[in-house]
Subunit: 408 residues, 2 copies
Amino acid sequence: MEFFKTILIEEAVNIIKEEFKDYKLESEIVDLDDAYDKVLYEDVISKEFVPEFDRSTVDGYAIVAEDSYGSTDTIPTVLEIIGEVKMGDRTELVVSSGKCAYVPTGGMIPKGANAVIMIENTEKMDEKTLLVQKPVRIQENIIKRGEDIKENEVVIERGKKLNPAHIGALASLGISKVQVFKKPKVFIISTGDEIIGIEEKLEFGKIRDINSYSLKAQSKKIGLEVVGNIIVKDDFIQLKEAILDGLEKSDIVLLSGGSSVGERDYTKEAINSLGGKGVLAHGISIKPGKPTLIASAKGKLVIGLPGHPVSAMTVFMAVVEPFIEKLYSLNTIKPTIFAQMTENFPSSAGKDTYVFVNIKKEEGKYYATPKFGKSGMITNLSKADGYIVIKIHEEGVNKGEIREVYLL
Amino acid sequence: MEFFKTILIEEAVNIIKEEFKDYKLESEIVDLDDAYDKVLYEDVISKEFVPEFDRSTVDGYAIVAEDSYGSTDTIPTVLEIIGEVKMGDRTELVVSSGKCAYVPTGGMIPKGANAVIMIENTEKMDEKTLLVQKPVRIQENIIKRGEDIKENEVVIERGKKLNPAHIGALASLGISKVQVFKKPKVFIISTGDEIIGIEEKLEFGKIRDINSYSLKAQSKKIGLEVVGNIIVKDDFIQLKEAILDGLEKSDIVLLSGGSSVGERDYTKEAINSLGGKGVLAHGISIKPGKPTLIASAKGKLVIGLPGHPVSAMTVFMAVVEPFIEKLYSLNTIKPTIFAQMTENFPSSAGKDTYVFVNIKKEEGKYYATPKFGKSGMITNLSKADGYIVIKIHEEGVNKGEIREVYLL
């Protein structure tokens, strides 16, 4: 029997990042219509000024600002209306002191004008005569050419997960194709003589293959493409072949089960027999989830997750997720919630403890309640909303404390 | 010229909910593999007890708890080891006072035992002899049959958006097919003589079709299926035909542009000519976004959004999103962030004001800074992380105030 020398989560993540630092995701060009929720591979550079000319931000009259100084309701300034700018037209009008021209919101500011007075602050006496009833500052209600974006300016940065506003911005710049990250491919192996497919009849002593399903969903959630999965018996040859197959088809192989201390643990042996650096670390100070194996086989990442479904999910979140985020250069705000703990919760010494919680929102505040559940079963986890992490040096969380909650 | 009688956002949403209260989404049965991120149509009921028998939550020895009372390191209790429970096996062992049996985590508790003492608190003298060095309480380290889930208990509720833990829980119960909501179909129409496709050459006076793209992405984001989109000139016949086509293909028709006050506004006319209740409301007290039209044509929902891209997106979030959430009976925590405002921001009287913000996280706290941008251009919006809503009765937000931020 062999005992683990456990390492910290941060060390585990760093081992992976360091070992696979040359691993780069590929990119692909997609139509803007298919770009939503994908991650941008390169900074998008504008080829245009936005706006492309000085525009009015209100419906009103383009004037020489100085003309309006001192204007009031009772002592308005009288200006001559020289015309109207049509929306979307390039205007030839020229405004000078004593004159003005109507401009709709978004309309082009005529030459000579340096401000726009809102229509609400004027009174039109007749087709040719406007009363200005309020002063405006120079540049008021005008957006200058390029004020939003200049030519050659970065519009959206690499690593942004494209949301609807990004998609709209790209459309506005006439960008109909974008370069996005290709999804890395993952292959998932469930190991154990006792594991059966979920559609098979459950006999005593058998356990349904939960991990394939939860890990597939987790993989999709963080932007991996699942290229296959298989259940493998505790058999060295079968396991080795499954891993080889997975390495051929994918960039990352995830195993679950078979990484615990035990006689039937072929995982380590199988990985080490494949060529490459083999097992890099075994055992992480995390609860739930200690028996985790990090390896490099044929230059690719292989992670042996615990067989216990909640442990496997937890290690995935703690170790796989940050690595994938790094691959994607992700720089999008990840929605976490700061919530007040409603109860004390002790943690295990010497480990980062993942505590699953329920969230309630009350009067503009979030509250988090630890989900107790002796079993640590996934049915219990599925009723949680998120989790907090109690770090190794902490003794637990106290009622009333504010903690960051990651959503499931 | 006609002026709007504007209504509150809440009124607009209620008009839609009331008018389409009989509108129900269809459901479909999907494989568990395809269920991630879909919304559950019916409560999932367990057909099993979880766990299916009393199990140990630790590696240890099943004992009669009373035997351990008073045990210490120096005065241990001596028990006879009668055997070992194998993981996944139905054990025939019977434990009585003075006896014990080894049980791995998750293993079945033998008859007669009422507690499990952790292996760390014992010392095995030989194959037959165990020293118990600590007392355990009755039921300690045991999870009872059905403690997690009882037969016929609801495991996951209707309206839950299925996350990886839900998927795992369903797999654990042997549920390989789930009934989920079918996506409602949406058809998107951009109107205006000045609108051109984003791949066309931009001439002066033309505007790129931004809204089709941003609205398609928004639709995907909230779980709508986009079945088509088209750009239509300001022509009554063309517009009417496009709406008719949309109504035939989809459940919801979204128009943008053409709903502002103006001579070329055929939208209202076209909708009213189609049969059904026609326009139900015109104009919402929202900034940006006032010129919005809510209608029922041929029994289906038609929404006329403003032509301005940021306004169109805002009205979509304010009005369309809550209706779709209701259709889905959505009861999943929506990730919002409570953030401290870093600046004052005034709002417009008589309107709900949507203020786009940037989010920063510092020392366990979120900070929100309003994105000023005179233009209200979508390029500016695309640099925001989320938005806050200043309600109609508020005068703005103050620096230091904590506000709820919705992520983009």
